[in-house]
C-alpha cells in the first residue's frame, strides 16, 4: 500500500476516533453534578443579568443545539471561549501545547536513555549482581509516585543543593532555538535545559522501570530464539549477536510501548506540571477544572486526543521501518 493511501486510511480512522472522544467529552458536562451556571456566576448577580449571561454562553439551548454548535466550532478549528478569562481557547491552548510536548519528549528521552542500557545490562548479566541492581532500581522507580518523587527532587536538588530551579519555564524550546540560531546566544537553551531537567526526570523515571523490565524480558526472549544459536554457530562475534540482532529485535515491542506510553506521558504530565508549575496543558486543565471552565476543559482534552492519534500514526510508520515483517497493510505477508 502506498504511503498516501495509508495516510488517507489512517486520517479517516483518526477523525472517527477524535469525533468519539469529542462526544464523550461533551457528554461529560451533562453528567457532571456541578451546575455550570451556579458555579460560574456569583450568587449576588441579579437574576436578569444572570439570565442574559446564561443566554450569552448559550447554556439555555437544548443539549443537541449546544452539541451541534460545539462540533461545528471544532470542525472550523474554533474551540470556543473560556468562561473565565473570555480569551479564545485556541489561543490559550496554543500557548500551552508546546510546553507539554517538550516535557513529554524530554521525559521519553530520559526514560529511553536510562532504561535501554539498563535492560541490556540486566539481560546480558542475568541473575548476577548488575541484573539485581537494575531490577532494584526499576522497582524503586515504579513504586515511587510521581508527585512524591517530584517533591523530593525539589526539596533535595533545588532547595537544599540549589542546582536547579524549583519551578517554572523561562524559555520555550522554540524561542530558545531561535535565540541560539539567529543571535548565537546560548542563554535561552541553557535556561530551557535548566528548567526542564527536574520535571523530565520526574516524569521519565516512572517509565524507566517499565521499559527496563520490558527490554530485559524481550532480550531474554530473543536470546533464547533459534536464530541466535545460528548466529553463534556461524561464528559471529558476540557483540554483533547482542547489539545488532538481539537488541534490534527486542526494541520492536519497546517502541510500541513507548508509542502507547507517549499518551500517558501527557497524562502523567498533568501531575508533574502541577508540582513544578510547568505551564503546560496539564496545569492548564487542572486550573480549568477548578473553575469549571468547560470550554477550556473540552478544548484541552480534544487537543490531547488529537495528539494521541497523530502520535500513533507516527509510531505505525516507525514500525514499518524497524520491523520489515510489518507492512502498511497492518498484516504480515
Amino acid at each position: 500500500m502506498s504511503l498516501l493511501k495509508f495516510t488517507i486510511k489512517r486520517t479517516i480512522h483518526g477523525i472517527v476516533v477524535a469525533w468519539a472522544a469529542l462526544t464523550i467529552i461533551f457528554a461529560l458536562r451533562f453528567i457532571s453534578p456541578v451546575d455550570i451556571a451556579s458555579a460560574l456566576i456569583p450568587p449576588d448577580v441579579p437574576p436578569t443579568a444572570r439570565e442574559s449571561l446564561i443566554e450569552d454562553l448559550g447554556l439555555d439551548q437544548p443539549w443537541y443545539v449546544q452539541y451541534l454548535r460545539y462540533i461545528g466550532g471544532v470542525v472550523q478549528g474554533d474551540l470556543g471561549y473560556s468562561y473565565v478569562s473570555r480569551i479564545s481557547v485556541n489561543q490559550l491552548a496554543i500557548n500551552r501545547l508546546p510546553a507539554t510536548l517538550e516535557l513529554a519528549v524530554a521525559a521519553t528521552l530520559v526514560s529511553v536513555v536510562l532504561s535501554i542500557p539498563l535492560g541490556v545490562i540486566s539481560a546480558t548479566n542475568r541473575h548476577q549482581v548488575p541484573d539485581y541492581l537494575a531490577s532494584f532500581f526499576a522497582l524503586l522507580g515504579i513504586s515511587t509516585p510521581n508527585f512524591w518523587l517530584g517533591i523530593m527532587l525539589v526539596l533535595l536538588v533545588s532547595v537544599m543543593l540549589g542546582w536547579f530551579p524549583t519551578s517554572g519555564r523561562e524559555f520555550g524550546f522554540y524561542e530558545a532555538m531561535r535565540l541560539l540560531i539567529l543571535d548565537g546566544n546560548r542563554y535561552g537553551i541553557i535556561q530551557w535545559l535548566y528548567h526542564i531537567t527536574l520535571p523530565a526526570i520526574t516524569l521519565g523515571t516512572y517509565y524507566v522501570a517499565l521499559l527496563t523490565r520490558l527490554t530485559r524480558s524481550e532480550m531474554l526472549d530473543q536470546l533464547s530464539e533459534e536464530y541466535v544459536r545460528v548466529l553463534r554457530a556461524k561464528g559471529l562475534p558476540e557483540t554483533l549477536v547482542t547489539f545488532k540482532h538481539v537488541l534490534r529485535n527486542s526494541l520492536i515491542p519497546v517502541v510500541t510501548v513507548l508509542g502507547l506510553q507517549f499518551g500517558s506521558f501527557i497524562n502523567g504530565a498533568v501531575v508533574v506540571e502541577v508540582v513544578f508549575r510547568w505551564p503546560g496543558m496539564g496545569e492548564f486543565l487542572i486550573r480549568a477544572i477548578r473553575t469549571v471552565d468547560w470550554p477550556v476543559i473540552q478544548g484541552t482534552l480534544i487537543i490531547i486526543a488529537i495528539t494521541w492519534v497523530t502520535i500513533n500514526f507516527g509510531v505505525d510508520i516507525l514500525y514499518t521501518i524497524i520491523d520489515p515483517r510489518v507492512t502498511l497493510e497492518g498484516e504480515s505477508e
Binding site: E225, E226, Y227, R229, V230, L231, R232, A233, K234, G235, L236, P237, E238, T239, L240, F243, K244, H245, R248, N249, I252, I322, D323, P324, R325, S332, E333
Partner: protein, 414 residues
C-alpha cells in the same frame, strides 16, 4: 551376575578410562566418552551419556533416533553451543586441524595428538573461533533460524565476513570479540564504511545463494526471511553454513520441517555439495529414509547413547540391537503395507535419578535378560560395526528373560 567375561573382540570403554585415542588415516572427528548434562529444576538430565563415534573425511555420518535421544545436544556440544543450565561434563572431542595442533603443541601438549586437537581442552575462545570455518551447523526450522529483521543476504554476508576476518587475523590477536568489539559495532552502525558486512562479502553471499539454487539471487539477497518459502530459506541456510568453507557440516533434522517434494530437493542439494567439496557431514534425523538416502555410516542413538553404529549396510541388514530392529520395524513404508511391529512403552525421560544402572533399553526390550540389569559395554562385531548390547556375543535365552518384570504400559496388546 557380572559380565566382565566379555569376549576378546569386545572393547569396553567405561567412563574414566584413559586409554589413548587411535586415529584412522582419514579420521576428521573423534568423539570419545562425551557426556553433556542439563541441571534443571526437575533434576539432572543426562542428555548425552559417554558417547563415542568417529567421522571420517568426506563421509556422511548419520545419527538417527527418536526425539529426546540426545541427537541435537550432540551436535551442539561439538560447536560449544550448549547453554546454561547445560554443560559438557566429560569427554574428548578430537578434531583434525594441523595448524592448531602445531600452535598448541608446546603450550598444551595434552590437548594435541598428531594432527588432532582436543577441542574441550583448548581455550573456549579458540574452540569458538572454529565455528563457521571448521564446522558449522544447520537446523530444523529455517523460519526461526534467521533473524527476522535483517535481510537474508546480509546474514549470509556476515558469515562470509567472519570467515575472512578469521583467516586474516593471527589467532593470537583474537580476543573474545574476535576483533570486533563494541566500539567497532557502534561505528559500524553509523558509518557504512565501517560496517561489519563489506561489499565483497555481500557479493560472495549472492554467489552462494546462486550456488544453492536460488533463482534471482541478487534480488532475493535483499529480501527478508519471511518473504522466502521454507524450502528456499533452507537453501539459504545451507548457503550460510557453506560461507566459511567448513570441513564438517552438522545438519540437525535439515528436512523435517519441509514437505517431501522439497525434502527431496534439499537432500540432493546437500549430497551434491558434500560430494563436490569433499566435506564431512553429520546428518541428524529421526527419518531412516533420509539416512538411507545420503549417509555412509550411521549411529543409532537411544537415551543419550549410541546403541549401535556401523555402515548403512551393517545397520540395515545385520543389526544386533533390539532397538535398531524395533525402529526399522515401526516405520510404515510406502512399498508394502504389512502390519507394523512397534516398540512397546515410551521414550525415557533421561532424568539421572530415573535412569538406573541397567541397559537403558531394558524396560522396552523384548529380549531383556537377567544380565541386562547391568549396563552392557560396547562390543565390536567387526571393524565397521559396534553395538551396546549383550546380544553381540550371546543368543537370547528364554530362561533368563526378564520380560515379565517390566510391563511397559501402552504396549501392543499382542
Amino acid at each position: 551376575m557380572t559380565h566382565n567375561d566379555a569376549s576378546t573382540t569386545s572393547v569396553q570403554r567405561s567412563a574414566g578410562t584413559d586409554n589413548e585415542p587411535d586415529f584412522g588415516p582419514n579420521t576428521l572427528l573423534k568423539v570419545r566418552n562425551l557426556s553433556t548434562r542439563f541441571f534443571t529444576d526437575e533434576g539432572q538430565v543426562n542428555a548425552v551419556e559417554s558417547l563415542d563415534f568417529e567421522v571420517k573425511e568426506g563421509e556422511v555420518f548419520g545419527i538417527v533416533g527418536e526425539s529426546g535421544s540426545g541427537k541435537s545436544v550432540t551436535g551442539l556440544s561439538i560447536l560449544d553451543l550448549i547453554e546454561s543450565p547445560g554443560r559438557i561434563t566429560d569427554g574428548e572431542i578430537w578434531f583434525r586441524n594441523r595448524s592448531l595442533a602445531d600452535e598448541f603443541n608446546e603450550q598444551q601438549s595434552q590437548a594435541v595428538r598428531d594432527e588432532f586437537v582436543n577441542l574441550l581442552e583448548l581455550p573456549e575462545s579458540v574452540h569458538r573461533s572454529l565455528r563457521g570455518n571448521s564446522f558449522s551447523m544447520i537446523f530444523q526450522d529455517p523460519m526461526s533460524s534467521f533473524d527476522p529483521t535483517s535481510t537474508v543476504g546480509e546474514q549470509i554476508a556476515e558469515a562470509v565476513e567472519v570467515q575472512q576476518r578469521t583467516s586474516s587475523n593471527p589467532r593470537s590477536a583474537r580476543s573474545r570479540t574476535q576483533g570486533y568489539g563494541f566500539k567497532s559495532m557502534v561505528l559500524g552502525s553509523i558509518l557504512p564504511s565501517k560496517s561489519f558486512v563489506t561489499e565483497p562479502s555481500m557479493e560472495r553471499a549472492i554467489e552462494l545463494l546462486e550456488l544453492v539454487g536460488i533463482p534471482d539471487p541478487k534480488k532475493r539477497a535483499q529480501e527478508y526471511p519471511h518473504q522466502f518459502s521454507g524450502g528456499m530459506l533452507q537453501r539459504a541456510m545451507i548457503a550460510q553454513a557453506l560461507a566459511g568453507e567448513p570441513d564438517l557440516l552438522i545438519a540437525d533434522e535439515p528436512t523435517t520441517a519441509l514437505d517431501v517434494t522439497i525434502q527431496a530437493q534439499i537432500l540432493s542439494l546437500l549430497s551434491d555439495i558434500q560430494e563436490e567439496r569433499g566435506m564431512s557431514v553429520i546428518l541428524i534425523t529421526h527419518n531412516l529414509g533420509v539416512v538411507a538416502r545420503v549417509a555412509d555410516r550411521l549411529g543409532v542413538m537411544y537415551a543419550g547413547e549410541i546403541a549401535e553404529r556401523g555402515t548403512l549396510k551393517e545397520i540395515f541388514e545385520n543389526h544386533t540391537h533390539p532397538y535398531t530392529a524395533g525402529l526399522l520395524g515401526s516405520i510404515p513404508e510406502i512399498d508394502e503395507a504389512e502390519r507394523l511391529r512397534p516398540i512397546p512403552g515410551n521414550v525415557p525421560s533421561l532424568l539421572d535419578h530415573e535412569m538406573g544402572d541397567r541397559c537403558y533399553f531394558a524396560d522396552r526390550c523384548p529380549k531383556a535378560m537377567e544380565e541386562c540389569m547391568e549396563k552392557p559395554p560396547e562390543y565390536e562385531i567387526n571393524d565397521d560395526h559396534r553395538v551396546r548390547c549383550y546380544l553381540a556375543n550371546r543368543e537370547f535365552d528364554e530362561d533368563r528373560s526378564i520380560r515379565d518384570h517390566f510391563d511397559g504400559e501402552g504396549g501392543e496388546p499382542s
